[in-house]
Amino acid sequence: MKENNPNKDRLKYLLFVPTMVILVSMTIVPFVFSLLTSLTNYKATEPDNWRFIGLDNFTRALMDKDIQSSFVNTLVYVAGAVSLEFVLGILIALLLNRKMRGITVIRMLLLLPMMATPVAVGLMWRWLLNTDFGIINYYLSAWFEITGPNWLGEYALAMPVVILVDVWQWTPFVVLSLLAGLQSLSDDPIEAASMDGASSWQMFWNITLPQLKSIILVVLLIRIIDAFKSFDVVWTLTNGGPGVSTELLSLRVYRVAFKFWETGYASAISWLFLIIVMLITSQFIRFLYKETPK
């Protein structure tokens, strides 16, 4: 048996302190501060002039039509982007999960959109989609003699376009994660099923997909959380417009906090936002644990 050395223990905890200080100062303090702020009418521009107002900010947020519409927009955005990314991601992953020439180059190319900064992505697509100078409308006109629409200026088009830009950037992430999953699967069950005369669809539906379930859930979880937090691309593409058609909750929080300087109210909205995201993601996590073999 090893003997406990108290000095060694003390050193161990002492070494632990800097990490804790950083963790507490970077995470817990802002977290607690934002919770306390959400219960006040605190404005960053008038730091001396605040008072506790209980849950007023929370009730105001729940009644606020701008918050309601931006919440609906966020749900549409997350559902649209993540489901498209998943469908396309799994199709492309299946396509790439075979021996073919140039596969390494394709995988490398797939990484490119993910590596780009979201603001740069937003700006790049803003110019590509520009009605008057954009390359997309130029080729629509030159090749198909179609007058391209005002992609970001039309109420009905703006949200689908914003979703497609997110799909462009993040589908590769889904592809690479699922591809890694596919390549880790054993070939034996597929071979056995094949010898039993199962069709490709039957093999995919009954063997491949169930085995990938855990990875799919993790990928969806990451993408859902990320999509809920989307800000830069939408901000640079549409600034939430036209009207409020692409105003996501993240944009609303930013506007309330840093344009209108209603810090207390913005904190309350952020907390409501966090609770909603946690409720949704906790369902995924629960499902994930249920599915993971013990």
Partner: protein, 491 residues
């Protein structure tokens, strides 16, 4: 098990120690500044103690307020005074955040700060009133208040500390005594005034063929338009297919249709032309009245009915307008600076004119939006007197004349007189138009929740332009939202 419990206990202790250390550190670093009233009272003594600081720091905008000119003037002041001048510049959005957070933290880092007019009601308690410094100026030849364009000065710099929403007394020449006697103070010195002007393709206007065709079509001469109706006629005239491929490649005009501050001030200019305003004297929103609906319908008709704007106009702000005009795709374009044509536009020549108006009772009513930048002293600066002297120098008559070399939108009458002697005819023309426009310009509402109100109007305009609502419905909904915002803000 016991060992585990012991470890958790220790872990809790470490956490507690860490948290306490952090709280202690936070408490220690909270250098509570002196109360605002005391700080205001101590100006002169503080100024006396730190008469000549080693360095003055200026927080300034980039292109929005002509940073090149200011940096150049600051260098000259540095040589003359021996005080090092550091100018930090930020683009508009970043600057707003920087200014607000610096002031909210009561930071003494910056001495002088560039202030956009709509920010003033929100940050007035953090700015040092300049009135007493002006009254005790050591350099009246640099100050010359009566030389400032009165309209720009009153809109930018004159506010009541406890009621910033109140408009100052109107006057043609700045009268400090009158301003003070009515309870107002001066909070900054105006350094740049931006106003909506129109840039146009002079080469197209002067083309003999165009002139003859226009005369035949509209029974009048093709000339700079005075009214919005005349402007629309010219815009319609120039909207055409120039290369015969069956597609329109030249449009009459630009607008700023994106949901953005640019769109709010664009609509506000039309609204003022039609005799409307965002608020009445009691700060009740009235932009949904007859004038507002007429203004919005006129604005929208250029896009959807007459189609005299490029197809992408609903995504335009001031940047896109400058690009489109520069590329030669439009005959006329409205913006807040002198737009230039790309050298690739063959035979292109630019001219400028004042934003047209609407005829009302035999008079033409014009209301181009204007917004000015002031340069103000941070209440938390340790070098207030020196900062004031720098502000005075940066806005002085001679320095403003030097700003003409940088195309700065100067704020003094004497600078506009000096601009008449500029060798470059185009610059001369622009300054003439700028000066005239400033005289008829209409500023922004003076409210603490300006950004929220602006956004509500932007949404209303955007919903009309994108066809979601009709003009009356969109404006009524916007006005309802603005009313509720005003109530929330305590008006």
């Amino acid at each position: 098990m016991k060992k585990g419990q012991f470890n958790v206990k220790k872990l809790k202790m470490v956490l507690m120690i860490s948290l306490s250390m952090l709280i202690l550190l936070t408490a220690c670093s909270n250098n509570s500044p002196e109360p605002a009233s005391e700080a205001a009272g101590n100006n002169q003594s503080a100024a006396g103690a730190a008469d000549k600081p080693e360095e003055l720091k200026v927080l300034y905008a980039t292109v929005e307020a002509g940073s090149e000119a200011i940096i150049d003037a600051a260098k000259a002041y540095e040589q003359q005074s021996g005080i090092k001048i550091s100018v930090d510049t930020f683009p508009y959005n970043n600057l707003q955040e920087k200014v607000f957070s610096e002031l909210a933290q009561k930071s003494d880092y910056y001495d002088l700060i560039a202030i956009d007019t709509p920010w003033v009601p929100k940050i007035i308690q953090h700015i040092e009133p300049m009135t007493s410094y002006i009254q005790n100026t050591k350099s009246p030849e640099l100050l010359q208040l009566d030389d400032f364009i009165a309209k720009a000065f009153l809109d930018t710099s004159v506010f009541k500390a406890d009621a910033p929403q109140q408009n100052p007394p109107q006057m043609d020449t700045i009268d400090l005594d009158k301003i003070v006697s009515e309870g107002f103070d001066i909070w900054s010195l105006p350094i740049q005034s931006n106003v909506l002007t129109v840039s146009y393709r002079k080469d197209l206007f002067n083309n003999e063929e165009n002139k003859a065709q226009f005369q035949q079509q509209y029974n009048r001469e093709l000339a700079v338009p005075q009214t919005l109706d005349e402007y629309l006629d010219i815009a319609k005239f120039f909207t055409r297919d120039t290369d015969g491929d069956g597609k329109i490649d030249l449009y009459g005009t630009t607008l700023m249709g994106k949901k953005h501050e640019a769109n709010f001030v664009d609509f506000k200019s039309f609204l003022s032309d039609f005799g409307g305003s965002i608020f009445d004297d009691n700060l009740v929103p009235v932009f949904n009245n007859e004038a507002g609906v007429k203004a919005l319908e006129t604005y929208g008709s250029w896009v959807s009915e007459h189609k005299v704007t490029p197809p992408g106009v609903l995504t335009y702000t001031w940047d896109e307008v400058a690009t489109v005009f520069g590329s030669g795709q439009v005959a006329m374009g409205m913006n807040y600076h002198d737009m230039k044509l790309d050298p690739k536009v063959e035979g292109g020549d630019t001219g400028y004119f004042v934003f047209p108006g609407v005829e009302n009772g035999g008079e033409i009513v014009r209301g181009p939006h204007f917004g000015s930048w002031g340069i103000g002293i941070s209440k938390y600066s340790n070098n207030k007197q020196a900062a004031y002297e720098l502000a005075e120098a940066l806005t002085s008559p001679d320095v403003q004349k030097g700003y003409l070399n940088f195309k700065q939108h100067v704020t003094r009458n004497s600078a506009y007189v000096a601009a008449e002697a500029l060798p470059d005819a185009l610059s001369k023309e622009y300054y003439q138009v700028l000066g005239e426009s400033l005289k008829v310009g209409v500023g922004r509402p003076r409210i603490t929740n300006y950004d929220q109100v602006s956004e509500a109007v932007q949404i209303a305009v955007s919903e009309y332009l994108s066809g979601k609502k009709d003009a009356k419905q969109a404006l009524d909904d916007g006005a309802k939202q603005v009313q509720s915002l005003m109530e929330q803000a305590g008006y």
